[in-house]
Amino acid sequence: MTDTKTPAPAGQGTGAASAGAASVAPTGVRRFSGRWFGDLAIRYAMVIVMLLIIAFFLYRSARFGTPENLTTILIAAAPFALIALGQTLVILTGGIDLSVGSVIAVAAVYGSITAKAFPDNVWLAVVTGMVVGLIAGSINGFVVSVIKVPPFIATLGMLTAASGFAYVAGNGAPITGLPASFSSIANTQILGLTLPVILMIVGILGFAVIMRRTAYGMRVYAVGGNPVAAQIAGVKVGRTLFSVYAISGVLAGLSGVMLASRVTLGAPNLGQGYELDAIAAVVIGGASLLGGRGSIWGTALGLLLIQTLNNGLDILTVPAYWQDVIKGALIVTAVAVDVWSTKRRP
């Protein structure tokens, strides 16, 4: 038995815990030793990998560490962040949402059409994108929770169908000639950060709190950990499943409009393949595809890892195809390290 203790879970007031559970919980004494350091290294393996990668890029490139480049990384990460948050919820329930890339495209196209029709009221475009995402996510949620089609299949169908819709809506061509008011959405600056970056930060903080501190978060973990046990504990399993797909859809819709605004183009191929990067971020962040295990912080870390790598390799002018090879190897390595360290964990 080792003596490092995991940090107390959210909401566990230490006073109440030690008083109430005195007979239950002998609190471990923390001893500083080589063993302790080893456990720490195992627990934070991903953080260490991340730091090593950052150190490598800092050493190889003077440009990498500049504030401008940091901003570039954050801006590139933003559209992925929103869908990775939704994806985390879905994966925590033991499902998967393959459709988010296509939902980005449909939302981008419909958002652009709305922006063109109402150039004076571009926030309507944002709402449109989110509603489109909500519809797609709700269909996913319905098919998974009520008809009980496996999530992989249900969202694979939506991936294809939504992509088709994106082309249908724009008659196969991108929506161009968008008003300047629309492109200004993604460039709105708050505290020196653009709106998508703000949304990313607020989203990560918000969902981190929701997943740790609310009854809803606990239901999502419980449904993914053991749906039968969750049902017996009175959790409405179907409703919870429906909600995570709906949330994932809304976030993909929002991401789609932001992306269209940033590139000032309602292209039906926006977001293509993004679902894979989002899933990769969640998995690198330590979530189990079987559900019940994972965290928003892990996803945020996985996301930054991928984006930092993309950025650093670009700066070092590594050819794009090699970048994919390196990214692929990283995904497998990250999960292998996680599997290995979970086994070693006390």
């Binding site: 109440a16 109430g20 919980a25 809803y216 046990a229 504990a233």
Partner: protein
Amino acid sequence: MSVVDQLPGGIPNRGEVNTDAPIMLECVDLKKSFGGVPVLKGVSLKLEQGTITALSGENGAGKSTMMKIASGQYRPDEGRVLVRGEELPAGNPNAAHALGVAIVPQELASVLDTTVYENIFLGRERRRFGFLDRRRMIREATELLDDFGVDIPATARMGSLPVGLRQIVEIVKATSTGARVLLLDEPTSAIAEREVARLIGIMRRLRDRGVSLLFTTHKMEEIRAIADRVVVLRDGGLVTDAPLSTLTDDDIVTAMIGRELEDLFPERPEVRDETVLTIDELVVAPSGAPVSLTVKRGEIVGLAGLVGAGRTELIESIFGTRPVLSGTITINGERLRPGNPAASIAAGVALVPEDRKGAGAVLSMNILQNGTLPRLGQFSTFGWLKGRSRTAAVAKSMESVRLRSRGLDQEMETLSGGNQQKVVFARWLTADVNVLLLDEPTRGVDVGARSEIYRIITSLAADGMAVIMASSDLPEILSLSHRALVLRGQAVVGELDRDDLDDPGVQDRIFRLASGMTSHTKGATHD
């Protein structure tokens, strides 16, 4: 030469215990402890050629451990195993196999996507010029199956067969590799009645060929049907080893339960004259008869019956995880909305389900989270989880069942079976419970933790809960319940009051009611 001829040659002694028969397997003074807890305390046993021995005893008596030592899976702390006089190298399953000792485990390890013949020849595939000789394997497998009177194609997929047939394929596989001692761990626990008859036929056939069989069971009817000799273990010690013909059912039951019965079970609480639960004409399966039942505060009602009799269905319907076809459930005078677990929980119904790992707890979450889950509403304000009051309440309820853990943040996965079961109980105790539903509350729980769980059950009843407890463990039903219902075919076929339960012949009576072998269903509630 046909494979059938390779089977061990027979000494046809048809069930008579022949004292001159050679000893095939001998266990000498086996001792084994797990984590300081002795599981076997010096057990000796001899298996004669061509006999069937029943290894009997309660859960946790040491039956499975004994078998695992005899088949080389476990290394005994002390003692040795002799196969036809030759000492078995301890803890070496391959050596045991080579000496002709085969085991068919309780949880079968068949590869479900393979065919029957592939499974039989797994690890010793017939080859021709280096390639698999499938035709020969199919032919030989068919011969083997025919020989056992099993009418299944050798090319059938294992996964498509019922568990009972898969088990028989495993037996065919074991004996076709030349096993002369066959150990069967709870062979009838997971299979249907029709398949039990077939299994018994095959066991007899093997005995007639001179194979020595040892099987674990705690069912009297199986012992009566096939055993030549009965060995009873209790608390890791051997209490009976005698030919079946010299033993009465009572002898065996007394040997299995022993004095322990009084020690294990606490006193039943006082029943208060206040009805909590009223079930009126409840129908839960299309084939079922309506069930009516009232349970008072402090009362423990046992549900006995065979697997599939409808005990679990009744409990799940009361809790709301199974739809109700007709009839009503009333708690403290309030009609319960059927088919809605959340409504049942709000009305003060709690369920400790049968399959602890599969249904009782979320193993990937910690004790605090599991303790919070059933009463999320109570532990949150506008969706936000409370901090201290929640931790304090869960800590208090876990303390009330004397849970042993490293702290509330310990993951369920890392708790022992008995402690997991305590969490599954205690998580309901953060608020008032009116009706406590228990489905096999001690299955897979070791003896020590069992008596603690019995104490929890009786003290909760004493606090005023109405308890319904389904159990396959008859001593549990006989000792804890104030009343017991016997179910068969989704209907109540007998109701036994406390005097009935104290009657010495009650075990036999319950068995007859449960299996439908009798007409004297005194007090039957269905018509």
